[in-house]
Amino acid sequence: MSRISFTDSTSREHALDALLLQREIEAFYYLEAQLLDERRFEEWLDLLTEDISYFMPLRRNVKYGQHAEFENTRQGVDAAWFDEGKHTLAQRVAQLATGIHWAEEPLSRVRHLITNVQIGDKTDTPADSKEVEVSSHFMVYRNRVVDETDIFVGKRTDTLRFEDDHWKVAKRLILLDQSTLLAKNLTIFF
């Protein structure tokens, strides 16, 4: 993560750039949250690159010192909650739109709170494309029917790509802070 100092006048210009980028990325996340919470899922799909990788590992209770190796299941190899691309995500959206996807019928009330947005160094990419790595925390509240309530808390690590005049999510790693999932299903997006 790059450090920002607003008092050091020599890096003032750099700091302003960083602030503008920070503001831009945050605005992107608020828009994304808004689309999801307003159930504008098709529009949300447009915020994802065609080659997006969307991954939420399982998390295990392991002994001290083994977290790096064993706490989270591995993408592309192990079981996970999600390990998929845009095709499957679009199928999830299409299923919601059938009106007979009973786990989301009636639709849940969902609210995404996104905080702790930290922008990492720009990743190495060709000159004509612009990518940044961003981590953020989420708290997602879901209430459905009468008293079914779930709170999902965790962290996302994204690669955002600037494409067609917009930021888009090209890669998303979602760490949910639960090992045994305490909700009966994961019918919502993170």
Binding site: L58, R60, T73, V77, A79, T187
Partner: protein
Amino acid sequence: MRESLIATDLIDGDGGTIARDIFVDEEIYKREIKQVFGRAWLLVGHESQIPKPYDYFTSRMGEESVIMTRDKTGKIHVFLNTCPHRGMKVCRYDQGNARVFTCPYHAWSFSVDGNLTTAPGGLVGVPHYKKAYRGGLDKSQWGLVPVAQLVNYKGSIWANWDKDAVDFETYLGDMKFYLDSVLDQRDGSPGGSEVIGGIQKWKVPSNWKFGAENFIGDIYHITSHRSVDMVSIGPSGAGRRDVLKGDKAAKIVIPPPAFGSIGFPNHGHGCIGALPHYEEPDYAPSFTLTPIVEEYYKEVYHRRVENLGKRARGLAPVGTIFPNCSFHGMQPRALFTWHPNGPQEMEMWKWYLVDADAPDEVKNVLRQYYLRYAGPAGLTEQDDMENWNYATAASSGARAGLYPYNYQMGQGFESDARDLENAIFTSAVTEQNQRLFYNRWAEFMDADSWDALHPKNSANHADILARCQQ
């Protein structure tokens, strides 16, 4: 409050109607934990989860935590995960490698090897042993509690708390045929499955039996999955699966019609599947979205034809081993358990399986398909859990509780399942397997000991066939 609880009274007309109480009543639940989970064979895990000496995996039997571990010689053990001193869990990790489990509370330690102690799981370390106990503690009596019986069946590990329970293969009966179809390699050679790393575990506000009865034979509910078929998650792009769809199902076995509900009334197991057949049906392409995988399965098909020759084979897309282990046998392929967490909650655990010797690329395509089909994020399974959730909640209504559920579908139309022992069969949509599941459940609930539970002594099978012949 009931004067005395007799489970068979809750089930009328040989299983045709069943009281809602069995899904919500505390007293019934407590009895179930003791009578069913205390005596039945329960799935604990898979040997591929603990490949090396001293590897362990913490699992569950009924409500309780157990540790499945492998000793230095490769032998697998299962112990209750509680310290005999004051009860603390001796292991709070999901998996790992340990020669000794040391209790966090007062540091009693237990060895998984029998050589240091009188028995595996034995107490080997007691802080201040001499000063505090003054020689008055017999360590040989205070080890971790082992299960009474344990079996490694083609890599799947099962355990039983009752030393008088019949051995696992007797317990399975001819259901073995269908469990084999899950655990055997796709090319027909015995065993050889492995678990994809990471077990999905999640809590569902449902009585555990709703899951078990769904997988034992509720083919009727496929209508609830129409939204998945509409978006087509199958490995060849259509529907939910490659095979056993529509009239293709009839073609898959020789001679038709041999596909339907197959149930074992004396055992309590059942599946949706094909009766034994002695020839492989014609090759049908699968996984056509991924040509490499399709090629691989074509080759596997030819190996299977060769390996099995004219030998009997079965197949079953879904089934339940009484009481709480179910499986997906084909697409997807998984073992799972419905662990009871009180009458109105269960914890689902899911072990996804692949052939150990399949190429990585094939394993990966299977894995992605499994994950989009099953589990809490699976497009198909999400809707099942929704239905079980609300069915459970509605079972406790003061008024609703007066009205039993209807399990009469196809009753009286069962026939003897050809080439299988103590088995019944219905080719069309039916609830025969749900009925036999609950009849067996009631036998467990009411029986005083395993003497009355031996599959040979069960009256279920004879009763059903006598009724069909009337």
